[in-house]
Symmetry: C2
Subunit: 221 residues, 2 copies
Amino acid sequence: MHRIAIIGGTGPEGKGLATRFAIVGHKITIGSRDEKRGTDVASELSENLRNSFTHKLDISGTNNENAAKKSDIVIIAVPYEAHSETLSELAPYLSEKIIIDAVVPVKFERGPRPIHVEAGSATEEAAKLLNESSVIGAFHNLSAEKLLQPDLSLDSDVLITGNNSDAKNIVIDLANEIKGVRAIDAGPLRYSQFIENLTVLLIGINGRYKIESGLKISGID
Amino acid sequence: MHRIAIIGGTGPEGKGLATRFAIVGHKITIGSRDEKRGTDVASELSENLRNSFTHKLDISGTNNENAAKKSDIVIIAVPYEAHSETLSELAPYLSEKIIIDAVVPVKFERGPRPIHVEAGSATEEAAKLLNESSVIGAFHNLSAEKLLQPDLSLDSDVLITGNNSDAKNIVIDLANEIKGVRAIDAGPLRYSQFIENLTVLLIGINGRYKIESGLKISGID
């Protein structure tokens, strides 16, 4: 059982990941810039899941700082616009922890487009800002809509990047706990940009085909 | 039936595509910088396939210029290092034709890395050099090794980019003729970089998992 904080846990992706990790027994803390909003979303998720699950789910909410302090794995799910500021503020509470960056630098200007990131990717930016943490990239390509339906199989692979193999293996095990997810070691942090951009591509396909797409790697197994 | 030239058709990817399009009845011309090498590879492919297929396969070889002249669909499968020079030389013979760019700008320096392309991607570079052609990006992520085994299902999607929807639809139909391939409209040319970089990612996964990986989009159908 991990104590998992979800920073920016009040958005669809954060709520979806909170749902999936709560139902498999992890202790979840929803973080928000606004503490009240964090507690509200935690109550909402607990309420929604109460009818589907007989076992007690452990979901609480607070502000981002307290959420980070209380947890040993911290998932970053803020909009890219808040990425570097949020991480700079939280850095003192994130050292020695596993940080999972799930942020996609995307803007919408006649279709989805990547936002240029000086460090190459949001995940590499996180690694630069948090040099005392183990930063891993994961969960960029999962449909929030599907994550929020707790019984639904995601039917997607999660591509995981990182330079610290112990931390990466913990995140691989964690990702594999989500129904219908297979975690894939996608290499070092320098490949993170490709995975973040893949989300831009998938958002485009979602619009064109009117679906919630996922990604799978064939040829493994 | 299309008359298909494969420029740089003597490399593994070109030979693999030639194999797959020949066996479904297209007229294939293998192009090479060296005419003799073009004819040799055409003979080699015809010979290899003779035992597996009872119907007559139409595979010939020549130099790149003649191959381009004789065909209405031209697949570019040269190494990226030869990309802009080859296209500039062939431009007079490519106007009004459908050009399928399958080139991945990749180099190997302690693992696969993308080569920086000023135009954004090899496919967009082709579109700039060939402004009287319809340039489409496709076939970047297919395993050459699997393409060369004519009975094997690829179990992969082909992500197709282009700004001309008539040309794109022709390439979508063509890609769907390969066993185990599903063609996906991946959007305009500006998304080509993401698909080219995806190949860099897949090459990394191939090395890590000792496989020939492919890519699939889930959630469609």
